[in-house]
């Protein structure tokens, strides 16, 4: 069922430019992007940074370009996980988690940068189909959700929490043309950027119509002592647990020697 759902979504993705606008696929434009590295190491004192992506439009129409009809959206999508939103309610005077909803494979972080506000680039329907932007990314619930009447409420809470904690960000104006067809996009890496494979996605729109896209993987690797500890805790938990106990035993034992009173 889940696989079917995904195929359906993929289908929507590819069908979007065709169905939304009954234009023939005669786009000559091509989009190219590049990052200086495909892997970034982040030290433990990392407090967030900007990542710059360069790109070029090929095969463009010079007239349209001069009129500013081309718009570019660049998104840095973090690794995807199933994510649960819980809601507290007062039960017998105590605040308890009562309802919850789990969304299928949503990015752990998301930074969006564009030539202007994405809602003015293309109609919302198109953005929804392609899942571009925090308000348009697919939030598909898993499991029983009743009559679905609280779906909007949980989706809104999810977006709001992710934006207030800074892991989802948007910068309308973060993409700038540096020459006629060359552009520079800066996307923000949040301070608590998750480890793993992120994907840089760039989309080109011509006069409100999606014409080309390009994606590049970017590996984010955290380094330093804290990261080594996190890795040890998750990859060799038994060894980690025994180490934690030994550390406590040695500390307690040393204390009994240093402060020996009898």
């Amino acid at each position: 069922m889940r696989i079917l759902g995904r195929i359906f979504l993929l289908g929507l993705f590819f069908a979007a430019p065709l169905t939304a606008h009954a234009e023939p696929m005669d786009f000559t434009e091509k989009l190219d992007i590049g990052i200086s590295t495909d892997e970034i190491s982040i030290t433990s004192d990392f407090r967030g940074a900007d990542l710059t992506i360069f790109g070029a439009i090929d095969g463009f129409n010079a007239n349209l370009l001069a009129q500013g009809k081309y718009n570019i959206v660049v998104a840095l999508e973090g690794p995807k996980e199933n994510t649960t939103v819980r809601k507290k309610q007062r039960v017998f005077g105590i605040w308890i988690n009562t309802n919850s909803m789990t969304f299928e494979l949503v990015p752990e972080s998301y930074s969006l940068s564009s030539t202007r506000d994405i809602d003015t680039i293309a109609p919302p329907g198109g953005m929804n189909n392609m899942g571009i932007g925090v308000n348009h990314m697919p939030l598909t619930p898993i499991g029983y959700i009743g009559d679905g009447s609280n779906l909007t409420e949980f989706r809104d809470a999810f977006r709001r929490l992710r934006e207030t904690t800074g892991v989802y960000q948007r910068d309308p104006g973060g993409v700038q043309f540096i020459s006629s067809s060359l552009f520079k996009a800066s996307v923000r890496l949040p301070a608590d950027v998750p480890n793993g494979v992120h994907i840089v996605r760039a989309y080109l729109f011509r006069d409100g119509v999606f014409v080309a896209a390009k994606a590049l993987p970017l590996r984010v690797v955290k380094t330093g002592l804290e990261q080594a500890i996190t890795r040890a805790a998750h990859e060799s938990p038994l060894f980690y647990g025994i180490t934690a106990v030994l550390l406590a035993v040695v500390t307690g034992w040393l204390a009994s020697i240093v402060f020996r009173r009898d």
Partner: protein
């Protein structure tokens, strides 16, 4: 001066953590308690996720119990045989506790259960201790002599089968109540991150009638192994032991305890118990308030990869 806690996934002021560890160490030295029941709520007040606070609290308990147990071992006041029976129950209890912990975490009720358990436990123990110490203080002011119940008296517990002779404690007792006590304390250790000494010691004295001189050493013996086991199981099942946080706490804790012991020797027993009772009640009330007042944010996010 901040330090990043890798498992709790947040930056904290190391001075505050050191201060917390030292204060709890001081109190634990002064009152002769392990301090797990204070350190875990304090960490929760400082926004450490309760799941991490509990597992890390158990780790801190190992360190603070070791030095006490070594002293008792040197003096020969540990009943290893009795301790082993307690321990068997304790390990079973801790296993069940960690399983419960994972289950509650999965259904999103863990934080609530931890807070509720603390409110009930601290409320009950604090009230009983305060009551008892007020009576003792009154008696002391009237210069009455305190008559403890004679250890020779028997209750229904001594009629249970499967009796075993514990030579060091000079008692002949069924293993059922001993293992059951260990089992209950084991659950508390893994769900709440406490050693459980403050419940186990009175239970051993008043319910099992074990001679007072071996009670503290024997309970410490059991606490070390049960909390060490809990740390290892929590680390493998839930990945919630924060070694950096635990290390800072235990260093500050063992130093604080030394000063606490010195101050504790100068105060009178009843006064000391009344003070501890007030402290226990205060922590319980603070946690209870947290459960009742409307939270700032009623929604929370948990993903498979991170977050609590």
């Amino acid at each position: 001066m901040t330090v990043y806690l890798p498992i709790a996934e947040l930056s904290v002021n190391i001075l505050i953590i050191l201060g917390m560890g030292a204060a709890v160490g001081f109190l634990s030295g002064m009152f002769g308690v392990g301090g797990g029941f204070l350190i875990t709520p304090l960490l929760i007040f400082y926004n450490i996720p309760p799941v991490v606070a509990v597992a890390t609290g158990a780790n801190q308990v190992v360190a603070s119990s070791i030095s006490g147990a070594i002293t008792h071992f040197r003096r020969g006041t540990i009943d290893i045989k009795l301790g082993t029976v307690l321990l068997c129950g304790g390990l079973a209890g801790a296993t069940l506790g960690v399983w419960l912990f994972s289950l509650l975490r999965r259904i999103g009720q863990l934080d609530l259960v931890i807070s509720l358990a603390y409110v009930i436990l601290l409320g009950t123990v604090g009230t009983l201790m305060l009551w008892e110490s007020i009576i003792a203080l009154r008696r002391a002011s009237k210069n009455e002599t305190v008559t403890l119940r004679k250890p020779g008296q028997h209750n229904w517990i001594h009629g249970l089968p499967l009796k075993m002779r514990f030579k060091k404690s000079k008692i002949y007792l069924s293993v059922i109540p001993v293992a059951t006590l260990g089992f209950c304390i084991g659950i508390l250790t893994s769900v709440m991150g406490v050693g459980g000494g403050f419940i186990m010691v009175p239970a051993m004295i008043y319910l099992l009638r074990i001679p007072t001189n071996v009670v503290v050493g024997t309970s410490l013996f059991q606490i070390i192994f049960v909390s060490a086991y809990t740390v290892i199981v929590q680390a493998t099942a839930n990945y919630t032991v924060d070694i950096v946080l635990a290390f800072v706490l235990m260093i500050a804790g063992v130093i604080g305890a030394q000063y606490g012991v010195r101050v504790g020797q100068k105060l009178r027993g009843e006064q000391l118990r009344a003070l501890l009772a007030l402290l226990v009640l205060a922590v319980g009330i603070r946690l209870a308030i947290e459960l009742v007042i409307p939270p700032k944010e009623i929604y929370s996010i948990v993903s498979a990869g991170r977050g609590f």
